[in-house]
Amino acid sequence: MTQTQITWITGSVVEEEVHMSIVEISRATRAPEDLIMSWVSEGVLSPAGSSPEDWRFSGESLKRAKTAAHLTHDLELNTPGVALALDLLDEISRLRNQILREKII
């Protein structure tokens, strides 16, 4: 009897184990680096480090950056618009979770 050996691919959990450079964020979101810099200056993303070459984005930034990239592309929002939309989406998600915690079937 032969046994088939499956190699299971192991990934890393971006939000917990990964820090990303501006190049990696740019590649993952397909957003140009100057756009990512404008998000940082607007406070949409808050990397550690003092200059763009040293920036280290936490894994949580990836999701925010992805949403920012979608909104910019699909709705042609400018940077302050993206920042406002993300803040409002955060607020909606906070309220949704509050409802979920208190929900009684």
């Binding site: 499956i6 190699t7 299971w8 691919i9 192991t10 990934g11 890393s12 959990v13 971006v14 939000e15 917990e16 990964v18 590649r27 993952a28 397909r30 894994g59 990836l62 999701k63 992805k66 949403t67 990239a69 979608h70 909104l71 592309h73 699909d74 709705l75 042609e76 939309a85 989406l89 979770n97 979920l100 915690r101 208190e102 929900k103 009684i104 079937i105």
Partner: protein
């Protein structure tokens, strides 16, 4: 193949101006944007609206589309007339952005597939260039138990792939993936080198899998915390009891319900939520349910309750 009435999709008249089409598109795109609208079906609507706009905003495509006449109805069976687009030239560019490969059969039969630019920067790479392949993104659904225990899953992804002649087709790709214990909804799993192929010595891009949980009839999940509604009979809540509750990990816990438990007063089971460095908690939310009084004995039992208590639940209403 079904005909798609792009004017109807956007809710504009056939004679609508460019400005009207743009305004209608923007309004619908904001409404159905999958990052904004979490309702089921929103993403589908968003794609339809995007497809309609991709045709109607483009003077050449719109003219070609209009030439098929105004008598077609949404959903009608449709075959493109031969040479219908003769003499039209398209400057096909990045349709759909991050949602490529989503055009309808109808769109593809008329306008072909959107061209996928390698590397995300457009332009045709010249021979001999080295660059890293594109990063790919996909969403996968797992069971809550997988986050508790870790799991190995074979997932099927539909990936647009391009052959040597530039033809794009959607291919199913199976991946055997280890789901790490402790992963939470909304988190991304990065699989290095599983994205698009690179050029030269560039190496493949990465694949990001965004995790979400299958809806669960028993548990609600908020980050690493998990909530379980626990129905209790009035006497159980009043007198206290011990109940067995199932955990998402598959085990059973014995839980002591103290006397005088009220609906909604959460009980926290420390570190029984999704495990991780700082494990989440499992909250049990008591919900007191009333049995109906149907038989005479049951009615008498309620009447006995009434006699036993001097209970005025509406005192504060002064009614």
């Amino acid at each position: 193949m079904k005909f798609r009435d792009y004017y109807e999709t956007l809710g504009v008249a056939r004679g609508a101006t460019e400005a009207e089409i743009k305004a209608a598109y923007r309004k619908l795109a904001r409404k159905y944007h999958p990052d904004v609208n979490k309702e089921a079906g929103a993403e589908e609507q968003f794609k339809e609206v995007g497809e309609a706009y991709a045709v109607l905003k483009d003077t050449e495509k719109r003219a070609a589309y209009d030439r098929m006449g105004a008598n077609w109805k949404n959903g009608q069976d449709f075959t493109p007339p031969p040479n219908w687009n003769e003499g039209f030239e398209y400057s096909d560019s990045n349709f759909g952005g991050g949602y490529e490969g989503d055009q309808s059969e109808f769109f593809e039969s008329l306008f072909g597939r959107g061209r996928h630019t390698q590397g995300g920067r457009g332009g045709n790479p010249r021979q001999g260039m080295n660059f890293k392949g594109q990063d790919h993104h996909a969403k996968i659904l797992i069971d809550l138990a997988d986050a508790y225990n870790g799991a190995q899953r074979t997932i099927a992804l539909h990936m647009p792939t391009q052959d040597a002649n530039g033809h794009v087709s959607t291919q199913e790709r199976k991946l055997d993936v280890s789901i790490p214990k402790g992963i939470k909804a909304g988190q991304n799993l990065r699989l290095a080198g599983q994205g698009g192929p690179g050029m030269g010595s560039g190496g493949a891009g990465d694949l990001y899998l965004e995790i979400d949980f299958h809806p669960n009839p028993i548990y609600r999940v908020d980050g690493k915390d998990v909530y379980l509604d626990l129905p209790l009979a009035p006497w159980e809540a009043a007198l206290g009891t011990t109940v067995n509750i199932p955990t998402p990990a598959g085990s059973t816990l014995e839980l002591k319900i103290p006397a005088g438990t009220a609906t909604g007063r959460k009980m926290r089971l420390k570190e029984k939520g999704i495990p991780s460095k700082e494990a989440g908690d499992l909250y049990v939310v008591p919900n007191i349910v009333l049995p109906g009084a149907e038989t005479d004995a049951q009615k008498e039992a309620y009447q006995a309750l009434e006699k036993a208590f001097d209970f005025k639940p509406r005192n504060h209403l002064k009614g």
